[in-house]
């Protein structure tokens, strides 16, 4: 179980008053869940992931099966980010050698299969990959590390729709029942069918937490739930257009 208890994070820049990136986020994520983390830009999704991984300072607690995240258990968490975490000068094979040596639960078979699935070259330095290939490799590393909790931050930025669709299907096919994925993305409609739970962030606060199964049973959809939670106004565009064209005379 990954538990976040009262996470707070402020960013300070010069003399500007601190900006709240996380404002008391508490949530528990169990084994086997596929969690979608949604929210507009600046809602705190990336910050939340970085706090879980201990990459930045924060207030509050992050517990992994009741224990704080330290060097001893951090290998149980993996991270795929659109900012990329691989070494550009290394090849895919070079990464495999390093990860296999450092992470005792490295999944060799999965790595090979995914590399083949995406047709990624094993002996070319990562800096020569296209953006889409880099994203794919980033995700492959995160899935092959042998982690129990796989955090993905906008992992498909730059990939085409077919690639993403295929990847979701492969993801569902390869995950073991105890593996947990936390997927931060803007592509709500795309992942709607793949996530089992949705967490909604707004201005650093957790404003929504729903299981997709519950939503379906109530006859709703994830998209509708997100729109409702964020107070989406369907007539917003028409109102704006009306205001813009008000008083304009016909030629």
């Amino acid at each position: 179980m990954l538990e976040l208890k009262n996470l707070y994070k402020d960013y300070r820049a010069g003399h500007i008053s601190p900006q709240k990136a996380l404002d008391g986020v508490s949530v528990a994520i169990g084994p086997g869940e596929i969690v979608g983390l949604f929210g507009e830009n600046g809602a705190g999704k990336t910050t939340l992931m970085k706090c879980i991984l201990g990459l930045i300072r924060y207030r509050g607690e992050v517990l992994l099966d009741g224990e704080p995240v330290t060097r001893r258990n951090i290998a149980r968490l993996s991270f795929a980010t659109c900012e990329h975490s691989f070494f550009p000068a290394l090849t895919a094979e070079g990464h495999r050698d390093f990860y296999r040596m450092h992470f005792p639960r490295w999944r060799e078979k999965r790595f090979r299969a995914l590399l083949e699935f995406f047709s990624l070259p094993a002996n070319r330095a990562l800096r020569h990959f296209s953006t889409g290939q880099k994203n794919q490799f980033e995700v492959i590393l995160a899935l092959s590390q042998g982690a129990d909790y796989i955090l993905m931050d906008e992992p498909f930025a730059g990939n085409d729709l077919f690639n993403r669709e295929d990847f979701y299907k492969v993801l569902l096919g390869i995950l073991e029942p105890t593996e947990t994925v936390v997927l931060s993305t803007h592509l709500l409609e795309e992942v709607e069918r793949f996530v089992s739970r949705a967490l909604l962030l707004r201005r650093g606060k957790l404003v929504g937490d729903a299981s997709t199964l519950d939503l379906e049973e109530r006859g709703g959809s994830l998209t509708a739930y997100v729109k409702e939670t964020y107070g989406y106004e369907p007539d917003r565009v028409s109102r704006a257009l009306d205001r813009l064209t008000e008083g304009e005379e016909e030629p």
């Binding site: 951090i74 550009p88 390093f98």
Partner: protein
């Protein structure tokens, strides 16, 4: 230990080949430059210091290139290095050890190349110009050669060793420091520049030795302090 070895192997994979390539290039260019001028000289043997001038420039350029390579780290690494099962400080110390070995290798390769080139020069001299002492005297007389192989001048060996340790450590801590504070490598750059200027060493020049040693010591203390301070906290990067 396997996790530490993984970090060490990663560093070697990322840097060792490039450093080795630079050292080979340096030796090849030096041999070509030295040999070209020696062979063109004709009857009158040129002065050894004239032949070595280009070599010292090539050596300085290679040193700066190797040092820049050791300091350079792509930004992407922070997400991996920050979540390994060994501490970031351990990664830095392994890098420091490897960096120092690379700088010592540069010293060794340059000394071997200089010895070989000087032996070639001595062999090319007419018998009336050469003696069994030619090489020995050249390494005492010429500043660049004396900085490389100071013979009985033990202080210079210690200085070179200390410089390799300090520069290697500075090159390893700098990316760690940059990740946390965004500060540029002014102190390592100053020590590298001072090394280029003050490395050629005339016999018993205590003042230049002392300047380099003090700068190296300052770097070790300042960056060592930063590493200890960094252990107590995580970076606080912007959103």
């Amino acid at each position: 230990m396997r996790k530490h070895l993984a970090v060490l192997a990663l560093w070697a994979r990322l840097k060792l080949g490039k450093v080795f390539g630079l050292l080979v290039l340096m030796a090849v260019f030096e041999a070509a430059l030295f040999g070209g001028r020696l062979l063109r000289a004709g009857e009158d043997p040129p002065l050894l210091e004239d032949l070595l001038w280009g070599i010292s420039i090539l050596c300085a350029a290679t040193f700066l290139a190797v040092f820049a390579l050791l300091c350079w780290e792509p930004g992407e690494r922070r997400y991996t290095l920050g979540r390994l099962s060994v501490s970031e400080e351990a990664v830095v110390l392994w890098s420091a050890a490897c960096n120092s070995v690379c700088l010592l290798a540069l010293w060794a390769v340059q000394t071997a190349a200089a010895l070989a080139l000087c032996a070639w020069y001595a062999a090319s001299l007419p018998p009336e110009y050469a003696s069994g002492q030619t090489l020995f005297l050249a390494f005492y007389r010429l500043e660049f050669l004396h900085g490389l192989l100071p013979l009985a001048d033990w202080g210079v060996y210690l200085r070179n060793l200390f410089l390799a340790l300090a520069l290697g450590f500075g090159a390893a801590v700098q990316p760690y420091r940059y990740r946390r504070s965004g500060k540029l490598p002014l102190l390592p750059a100053a020590l590298a520049a001072a090394t280029v200027v003050l490395f050629p060493q005339e016999t018993a020049n205590f003042q230049d030795n002392l300047t380099l040693l003090l700068l190296a010591l300052l770097l070790l203390v300042r960056y060592g302090g930063y590493l200890i301070q960094g252990r107590r906290g995580m970076p606080d990067e912007a959103a």
